[in-house]
Symmetry: C3
Amino acid sequence: MKKKFTLAEIAEFLGLSYKGENITITGLNTLDEATNSELSFLANPKYINKISSTHAGALIIREDQAENIKNAILCDNPYFAFARCMGLFQEKEGFFEGISEFASIHPSAVIGENCTIYPFVTIGANTKIGNNCTLFSGVYIGENCLIGENCTLTPNCVLMSYTELGNNCYLQPGVVLGGEGYGFVRTDFGIQKIPQIGHVLIEDNVEIGANTTIDRAALSKTHIRKSTCIDNLVQIGHNVQIGEECFIISQVGIAGSTKVGNKTTLAGQVGISGHLNIGNNVTIGPQAGVIKDIEDNKVVSGSPTMDYSTYMRNASLSAKIPDLFKRVSALEKKLMQFEEKN
Amino acid sequence: MKKKFTLAEIAEFLGLSYKGENITITGLNTLDEATNSELSFLANPKYINKISSTHAGALIIREDQAENIKNAILCDNPYFAFARCMGLFQEKEGFFEGISEFASIHPSAVIGENCTIYPFVTIGANTKIGNNCTLFSGVYIGENCLIGENCTLTPNCVLMSYTELGNNCYLQPGVVLGGEGYGFVRTDFGIQKIPQIGHVLIEDNVEIGANTTIDRAALSKTHIRKSTCIDNLVQIGHNVQIGEECFIISQVGIAGSTKVGNKTTLAGQVGISGHLNIGNNVTIGPQAGVIKDIEDNKVVSGSPTMDYSTYMRNASLSAKIPDLFKRVSALEKKLMQFEEKN
Amino acid sequence: MKKKFTLAEIAEFLGLSYKGENITITGLNTLDEATNSELSFLANPKYINKISSTHAGALIIREDQAENIKNAILCDNPYFAFARCMGLFQEKEGFFEGISEFASIHPSAVIGENCTIYPFVTIGANTKIGNNCTLFSGVYIGENCLIGENCTLTPNCVLMSYTELGNNCYLQPGVVLGGEGYGFVRTDFGIQKIPQIGHVLIEDNVEIGANTTIDRAALSKTHIRKSTCIDNLVQIGHNVQIGEECFIISQVGIAGSTKVGNKTTLAGQVGISGHLNIGNNVTIGPQAGVIKDIEDNKVVSGSPTMDYSTYMRNASLSAKIPDLFKRVSALEKKLMQFEEKN
């Protein structure tokens, strides 16, 4: 059953007051889609016209915009208050408690207190799992892994041997950590495989999106620092180092041994070559292709990358390039005529 | 054992007549690769020369092209007839029937009639599954999900809580539906996670490719409308809406809250930014990067996108851009000489 | 427990001599990160300055550079010797032996000698698996598959029916082989699905990266030839043919029926359209978009692709394109002034 709260309970949770009727709120929704038992919000003044047409049962809204609203929670920052309500209405994912008898746990593995282990989970030898972790069905954790506290590994995540995960990490379904790095070399005797004997280290509070892959290092470690948020279908190569609080959007690929600083944002489908240094507070636009180092605080786009302002001017000009060729041809013709005359 | 039919049986299935010997056909193949017990076809007149060299035991062919063919099924539209034969020869995937005792099904889940549930499947609380569904090994369906009739979920597909799937949907292996949307905001107090309390709704007759990920909405739903066909390794962000009968080719990424109309085609590796409106009957070329709305019936390419005709002219000109720089330099030089003379 | 060797044992393994103290080596690492019980190496003369600051307990190094090194293994090719040491220190992945009673193996399946089958593995009817194979947890192998000897399928790999795998293949986690090819056609009666009745054939010594997908053919086979190395999150469409000893880097997408020759390298995020011929010894740069055939031995980049040298000139010029527009406008203005004067 979905959660329900009265408007008064929600206001109390937020430490705010409400006006109107103390109706029961069965969910949260946008102004367009909310029903008369749902709570919505107005943050962006662009949408103020939607107030008159919304069917929402109540709104979180600034007091000076609330005059004609019947049921409302009043506050200065409706977006922030609404986001807190989303946490209130959120249900914990999952339906199972305890440790399933259909999980396969090696006798030498150490499982912390209050862990939830679904059926069909495999945990390898000498692996240690901290308190309050949840491992959903189909999770495989190899031998000699170290998992911190309060981690959630959703269905079918795979951690190969020696992977280390900090506290409070959340892995969406199908994440693969510690698969072998791509270490192949062409030689006169055919392709030689370079054994990958390093591992993956993920620090605290890291979130990793569905079906993302992070390879183990050739030597030492592939390293994701704390509070970095990685989206779905991202590829991170062996020995890559990612700083703290980075945003790595879906389908990004980062080749081996590249270092990314702190608070850097990589937009969707960015590709970064190997052995590069990307600074702190850098923003790289969608589909960009990075083939050289990028200094701190830069905003770049394009493949290969250039300053964002140059990229945008180029983008707006690119539709005019066929015309530019014509203009140059016309100039050449005219100049030739001049030459013939003189 | 692979299926076998006589040429007469195949002709009867198609409602067509055949000529030649009633041989046994053990499979279907191309003109190049077919053996003397296989059936092939000629649709594209470009390949008519292959008729003399093919080893195919029989052909589906137009009557006016069949003069020198020994064994043939005659028809006006060989491509269409051959595609129907592919359905005839196709074997149903899988080898198991019934509900495995090694599946983990919550007591409150409701399973329809004639369902096949392989070992190592997990089905959560309050989930309802329609009649005639097949769930292969390693499938995880969370709590409060709703699955229609005649759906096939191949191995290791994951549906997180509250996901809804219509009738006749087919999910290739490793599909993830309902993982959390990417909702993170940088604040002065560090990164805040926006809880994702919406869900994923997939309508009837949708097909989804291997390892594709479709995130749950922040609020309300991420919505894929009926008969849309999604290829492998596609990423669809939270609150995206896709229309009916769209083709979304592999490795496409669509950022949050973007709407795509009906019968639109997104070629491989296309990236679309968030909060955009893409119209009906639009075609977007491979690797295109979409950063603004696109009207109905447009054909666009490039990153950022432009009209297809402009894109193709640019593409053919781009190899001549270094030369254009030289031509402009030459013009500048000549003009300077003129200026000096005059 | 991680492996340990004395310096003498390592030298003997390499067939080389050592100098200094016969210390115990507990691992391998880079010059920067090695501790005093770890072995490192100097191959690239660029790093010779690091010799004085490294904490490595011993080095593999050329004799003429080893004068001030206390503990060293001396050789002419330190990189090659070090790579061999990586094989020495590598631990076999996994912790389980034998055939788990929690695996689901069809009675008609044939399993070779010395195979390791983890819990929660599914093996279908009439499938044959060669000697010395290892199938990790969550692996699904459908019916009528043929797996060679010495293959490793790491967790959650999926092989749909009729997939054939040669000897010595290594599949990273989450690989999907034999999902249905994308065969959909728009007709006046709605979308028609073309049944995909071919299969996937992978030859000997092929390695496939995590969450990569290779689709079954419409007819005949999708074919990966021997010793080709495929990285993570790659998409290979139906009826694609890949030659021997190719390198296919992560997030590459290859559309249906395209043929790639031998010893060709596709860099990260390359996209290749369908029905093309890519030659032998071709190198295609990162993020390139291929829409026409490429001859043997070419090096290309860009989307659409052009010769690498042209691409690099364009790339360096692209930041100057806004300036080029200004220069052409200036020329036009000057020429107009000339015309007015004359």
